[in-house]
Amino acid sequence: MVKPARMSGLIKSSIARKVVMALSGLFLVIFLVLHVTINLASVISPDFFNEASHFMGYNPLVQYLMQPILIIGVIVHFVMGFVLEIQNKKARSVRYVKFKGSANAPWVSRNMIYSGLVVLAFLGLHFYDFWVHEMTYKYIEILPEDPTRYYAETVEKFAPMWRTLIYVVAFVLLALHLWHGFASSFQTMGVNNKYSKGIKTFTQLFAVVVPLAFAFIAIYHHLNPITH
């Protein structure tokens, strides 16, 4: 049998690209857990939320290592998603007149590109709302450290109904994206065994609970503005 070119497949093959998609997706799932945990603090204890946010905003390890890795993770995930989508479209240059996709696969698995695009568009707004705001505060306006500002800033963000609504809609789409994506990444990594059923159940639980918690936080702050 012909010896394959060493290592070239790991970079160029369809399986390798899928693995990149799966690993970056799983990394973002772990990030979501951290994110939702800190956000929940804003509902339970504003002081702890301020402390945690200040730590995340000023700890050099978080700022100069974790943050760039996270941004790279997001970029890799969506750029690879587009690359795969373009290739997949090319793989069927002539489309069917009649194609019954719903007969053999769930909607969420067939529309990852659309749920992903909505989440990506939301990330644009989310970055503008919080990340751009932080960068301006710290590096452009060079304002002094204020460990108590985060809670008020967050609650204020959810004052307008339109922003709260956009966030909630994005969380619904995030739920759909996770519903397929989380378990799917295990299949891509070669895990399909006696644990797969458990992974699927956990995926569905995760896909509902995490976005629901995010949506709850947004709605909670919208309904409970700071009055003084």
């Binding site: 394959p4 160029k12 997949n88 069927r92 007149v97």
Partner: protein, 248 residues
């Protein structure tokens, strides 16, 4: 039974095709789908028209030749069968039936409903075999004890008939189920382990070269496969591939 057929007609690989409407009377419910097409073709021939070209051979669900997209599903509405095993009792009088060829860039249309599936053969040729010394004293395959469960899994993978329904059903026209079945049938047996690393890399490389899409784990292929080939095979191929490439 009276049927309203919409069939893809295409003169040759280079021509532009189109859907053509036909009305067919006198179809019996115990006819097979291919017999129904035979009757249509007899009518067309008697009228001096070009018959509809479609692939078929064994007509008992084992050759993998018949390949039709029927009302948006490979091999039609029923499960675990090929088109030749589909009977007209699955349809009703007055139904409209849309019949198209498999659609994949790697499976170009040759004429009407016939596509060129030699891409599958090239994937198979890239590694879907074991090297056995046939001269002198070949070792009897049965001399190597194999766990029953492994033998069964290997046999299940080997029941793939290479019909291409997985590619046809996949929204990405991915050939992962076919390739993974062919990788798995060897990977599960000691005779196949000898060249396992080269095999999986070569077959995946060929699969990519043919222009099939990427697997997004929708599971459509598994549902539409007439032989019930499982997605477990794709996970196994991914494991084999990752292990083979990372070890160099």
């Amino acid at each position: 039974m009276k049927l309203y057929l919409k069939i893809w007609r295409q003169k040759d690989a280079n021509s532009k095709g189109a859907m053509v409407d036909y009305t067919l009377n006198g179809v019996e419910s115990d006819m097979s789908f291919l017999e129904m097409l035979d009757i249509l073709n007899e009518e067309l021939i008697s009228k001096g028209e070009e018959p509809v070209e479609f692939d078929h051979d064994c007509r008992e669900g084992i050759c993998g030749t018949c390949s039709l997209m029927i009302n948006g599903r490979p091999h039609g509405p029923d499960s675990l069968i090929t088109v030749c095993q589909l009977h007209m009792r699955s349809f009703n009088d007055g139904d409209e039936i849309v019949i198209e060829p498999w659609r994949a860039t790697a499976f170009p249309v040759i004429k009407d409903l016939i596509v060129d599936r030699s891409a599958f053969e090239r994937i198979q040729q890239a590694g879907g075999y074991i090297s056995v010394n046939t001269s002198g004293r070949p070792v009897d395959a049965n001399a190597i004890p194999i766990e029953k469960d492994m033998a069964d899994q290997s046999f299940n993978a080997a029941t793939c008939i290479g019909c291409g329904a997985c590619v046809a059903a996949c929204k990405n026209a991915s050939a992962m189920l076919f390739t993974s079945a062919k990788v798995s049938q060897f990977a599960l047996l000691p005779q196949g382990r000898v060249e396992a690393a080269e095999r999986v890399q070569n077959m995946v490389r060929q699969m990519d070269l043919e222009g099939f899409g990427n697997c997004t784990n929708t599971g459509a292929c598994e549902v539409e496969c007439p032989k019930g080939i499982s997605l477990e095979n794709i996970a196994r191929m991914n494991r084999e591939y990752l292990s083979a490439t990372t070890k160099g």
